[in-house]
Symmetry: C2
Subunit: 385 residues, 2 copies
């Protein structure tokens, strides 16, 4: 169960031929209310695909009633024709479910530059059939948004008060914050308004998806959407809702990390003792993006020198001769000098924990990343995506 | 011929056992004047190794008379003991060549954390023998500074006025600006003063080594040093000297790029039409550091969408719908839409040219980088460095 786990939602997914594999590639989630609310956050890449431009407009104008998503083509750098495709897609959905087109969000993912007449026809001409398949089973929808993902990603949450959260996500590479290359749809049957939904979504993504940095590359098509139906008619405590939403987002972020293209290690870089949260994030991210560090982890080499070299490229408050670095619980560098022997450290498990103590303050942050492997190079060199 | 090509210099190189291979690992270049001048630029990494701390002090205090360089150990994160090793090395050289220790620059390269008593003894106890080998042949010195390099890197220049420039460099990975992971020694027999040498070296490195960004990783031990002997007693025209020095530095930068660890393509990313030089550099660097782009080039895939996604992460002035992108002379994206077919583009040659026209102004810059390959991952995962 994912997006239809809360009451008030229907979902559908089908194959319309956008993917050469014939797998599902078009998904729809409809919010049946009775008290609809919505929020969305978008890629911070300044190059933003047609569906992002469209969805931003929808969110500015009011509350979204549904979201249609395709894989098999990003519909970006496809000219005015591509934007028109997005608009026609929203209109087709709106007509079938009796809504306005400016209440329909659109997401696309796949190869940039894909979005011709054939692409348009496959989507727009199949919306009627897609709507006819709307129902309580969300598994086809969760499959239809995948690209190079090896598994579907879903999460759910049940509150004591009776409201629920459900979610589906796609993402397996080009994962860098603001956001990662991901499409996420989160639903809830709690009763909240648009403004609360927006605050809650921003708070939850800031400490989950925005701290996932698989390969430092930022996509043009990312969107995380929250749809609330209000079907339980239970008003939420905002703080409790943020906690629940964060739990769901963090679960999805870990699933994205675990399915990152070609990765053999999931690396959590925990920074402690930072002078500020911004410093902790900057340090964690600089290590997460250091190819030499990432290649060393692939080779099960706890190369703490590469960690320190990466920290040195930041503007964070630190003294190189105060820093401690531990790998999987073994402190290899203490106060800027070698500590325990590197062969005491076992990096063979997939889950890897790097702890950096800057000894400059009290702030902390964890950045999730992956190692740099032969398979990463293979997947991103042998196939266009 | 490299550092002894100009008059007034002697060099030596020998194996003292720092490298497990038994290859040369200790080098010395001495400036015999009669009008010595010097300048140096250092890594902008905030984590700076002991020899960098020492050499910075030397440059602040006056003119360098000699430079001693070792491979086989970075002498960083080695505590106060490591700094003392650097000082003792300079003192040993100074005593043998009748100079002051604060006239002797020290450079080290190799694994961070290496710099124990054995390391110290191998260097300090062999300085007498090294000095006894000083002479006009600089080939052993050029070999002794190499780490994972497959070839020595040298360059020279002869002016019409009779003065010369000679140079040797090492660097084959962890190449990012400010500086790349490199040690460079440049000599000249032109007669210039310290201030002119400093201005000229900064001008030349800013448009050569600082625009080399092989893998986005910045080292803790980089240093580029210019030593002038004044042996020709020919005063230089500063602008002519900068041009010559830039030519030498750019030749070395291209040699470093061509020898980058595991690379199969040398990629020159030329940015045109930028609103400022800073914008051009930021855009070029963002593409140069994009792993998805780099992996695509390895796969001979002219993935222009990844170029645009990388540009979108910058703060540069641009409109996604105005940008042109060409690979090896074939314009694949025009004004933000697909142009010529990607199969018209041949990426099989090692030399790769990516041209980005931002259409936002008149500024230009070229960033040199490499592709992301299986061999890069292998070399940086299988061996500690």
């Amino acid at each position: 169960m994912s997006v239809t786990y809360p009451q008030g939602f229907r979902a559908a997914g089908m194959a319309v031929g956008l993917k050469s594999t014939g797998k599902p590639d078009l998904a729809l989630v409809v919010n049946d209310g009775p008290h609809p609310a919505s929020a969305a956050v978008f890629t911070s890449n300044r190059a933003q695909a047609n569906p992002i431009l469209w969805s931003r407009k929808v969110m500015l104008q009011g509350t979204a009633r549904g979201i249609v998503l395709n894989s098999g083509g990003a519909n970006y750098f496809t000219g005015d024709f591509g934007y028109e495709t997005t608009r026609l897609t929203a209109e087709a959905v709106a007509k079938e479910i009796t809504a306005n087109s400016d209440e329909i969000l659109v997401c696309s993912t796949g190869l940039i530059g894909t979005g011709d007449q054939v692409f348009r026809d496959k989507i727009v001409n199949n919306i009627g059939e897609l709507v006819s398949q709307l129902g309580p089973d969300s598994s086809a929808a969760a499959s239809a948004i995948l690209t190079t993902d090896s598994v579907t990603k879903t999460a759910d949450y049940t509150s004591e008060a009776g409201w629920r959260i459900g979610a589906m996500a796609k993402g397996a590479g080009m994962l860098a914050p603001g956001l990662a290359t991901m499409l996420v749809v989160i639903t809830t049957d709690a009763q909240i308004d648009d403004a609360t939904a927006d605050r809650a979504l921003r708070a939850a993504t800031a400490v989950s998806f925005d701290r996932l940095d698989s390969d430092g590359c930022m996509s043009t098509n990312d969107q995380v959407t929250l749809l609330a139906s209000g079907a339980t008619e239970v008003a939420v405590d905002e703080s409790e809702f943020v906690t629940a939403l964060t739990e769901v987002c963090d679960s999805l972020a870990q699933q994205l990390q675990a399915d990152a293209e070609g990765a053999s290690h999931d690396i959590d870089i925990e920074v402690r003792g930072a002078a500020s949260a911004a410093d902790a994030i900057e340090v964690g991210r600089s290590v997460a993006r250091n190819n030499l560090f990432k290649a060393a982890i692939f080779g099960n080499d706890p190369n703490w020198g590469r960690v320190l070299a990466a920290i040195g490229t930041t503007t964070a408050d630190f003294d190189p001769y105060q820093v401690d670095v531990s790998f999987n619980g073994v402190r290899l560098c203490h106060a800027g000098a070698p500590d325990r022997a590197v062969d005491e450290c076992d990096l063979t498990p997939r889950k890897t924990h790097v702890l950096i103590d800057l000894r400059s303050g009290q702030s902390t942050a964890t950045i999730r990343t992956n190692d740099l492997t032969h398979d990463y190079v293979h997947e991103n060199s042998a196939y266009s995506s």
